[in-house]
């Protein structure tokens, strides 16, 4: 959907007249994916919105929001939905294969190397150091996402968060069981709070 304002319309992508070829889609997504260490989202936005102008920033945000609220790897979902908008199912497959194929090949090579050389002491030490830093990065994401809840003093959301943490992290209950209980509860509470507000 093109935006209404004329300034934005100038920069808006002209998808209808020139859909990119399947090969272009594949290469574009492979490039974003291979540039993305520790997350591809930034590169996907840069590639799709800034470089190729296949989507406006708003369209990208909307599509990403949809893919984020659905389960599964967000950026993989995005590649599939985006590819299909441009070129139908073949486009979806091209974008998806570009995003996942080349890095998965790299991952297999890493797997081969790990299984052959994983016992070497120096490599063991390096990997433990990398793991410590990677855990820190994950905790930073947790803090960043928690900040709005803390600022709003959203006690119920924080309690739900802690309950899921305990059920999964400490009690080690199966994910499906925990979420089949937690999702309806959380949706009901959110719905009720918004109605009351």
């Amino acid at each position: 959907m093109p935006p209404d304002s004329s300034s934005a319309a100038l920069a808006a992508p002209d998808i209808s007249t020139s859909p990119p070829s399947l090969l272009t889609l594949f290469i574009a997504f492979a490039k974003m994916s291979l540039a993305g260490f520790g997350g591809v989202l930034v590169w996907a936005r840069r590639g799709i919105v800034d470089q190729h102008k296949w989507m406006t920033a708003d369209e990208f945000n909307e599509t990403f929001a949809l893919c984020h609220f659905l389960p599964g790897p967000n950026i993989v979902n995005l590649s599939f939905v985006f590819g299909s908008r441009l070129r139908g199912l073949p486009g979806a497959v091209a974008a998806f294969s570009g995003l996942v194929g080349p890095p998965a090949l790299i991952m297999v090579v890493m797997g081969v190397l790990y299984h052959r050389y994983g016992d070497i002491d120096a490599l063991r030490r390096i990997l433990s150091g990398v793991a410590c830093a990677a855990i820190g990065l994950m905790l930073a994401v947790v803090f960043r996402m928690m900040t709005p809840l803390l600022k709003r003093r959203d006690v119920i959301a924080l309690l739900l968060m802690v309950a899921v943490f305990i059920a999964i992290g400490i009690a080690r209950l199966p994910l499906a069981a925990v979420l089949l209980a937690a999702i309806p509860i959380s949706i009901a509470i959110t719905w009720w709070m918004r109605r009351a507000a």
């Binding site: 591809v40 793991a131 899921v164």
Partner: protein
């Protein structure tokens, strides 16, 4: 190892089912991957799981590709392929169907409510991911300092995360992590 069933089929079924519950992305499913791969099926040891996570973070591409490595450890190339496809394709198809449906009959209210309701759950899941990995990795004071340092740097600066991973790797190589 469960000898009575084909491990490739177990991989396919396990990851396809898991992907449908990965709310908030692949990192939310780390505790379930650990439970399935280490506790239930004994595909990997605790240490190997943490190694695999570190390798996945060091490599380019979407975070979900940790399943490629788990699959490879279980059943070689075929395992890698099956685990990757099983974790990615079902939810991608679901996303495609929902996106078509939403553009046709746009009900702006419900997606917003569901999304807001999922946020605290996915934060709890990611916190659990960090906790489970830290139990294996952060066994020394320096290791904890590296984790806390990376968390703080990533929170207050816009430094490329790769630098922090490399710094952690150097600290490990120097024998500081233990």
């Amino acid at each position: 190892m469960n000898s009575d069933s084909n491990p490739v089929l177990t991989l396919a079924w396990t990851f396809a089912a898991m992907s449908l519950f990965a709310v908030g992305g692949a990192n939310s499913a780390i505790p379930e991957m650990h439970r399935v791969a280490v506790d239930v099926n004994h595909w990997l040891s605790d240490q190997q799981f943490t190694d695999v996570y570190a390798i996945a973070q060091l490599s380019p591409g979407p975070n979900v590709l940790i399943v490629t490595l788990i699959g490879y450890s279980v059943a070689g190339l075929l395992g890698a392929l099956v685990a990757t496809v099983a974790m990615c394709v079902p939810t991608a198809v679901l996303a495609l169907i929902v996106s078509r449906f939403l553009t046709r009959a746009s009900q702006a209210r419900w997606p917003g409510i569901v999304q807001a309701a999922l946020v605290p759950l996915s934060i709890g899941l990611m916190g659990a991911s960090g906790f489970i990995l830290a139990r294996t990795s952060d066994r020394t004071v320096v290791a904890v300092l590296v984790t806390v340092g990376a968390a703080m740097l990533a929170s207050v600066t816009r430094l490329n995360p790769l630098w922090m991973l490399l710094a952690g790797g150097c600290a490990g190589f120097a024998g500081l992590i233990g």
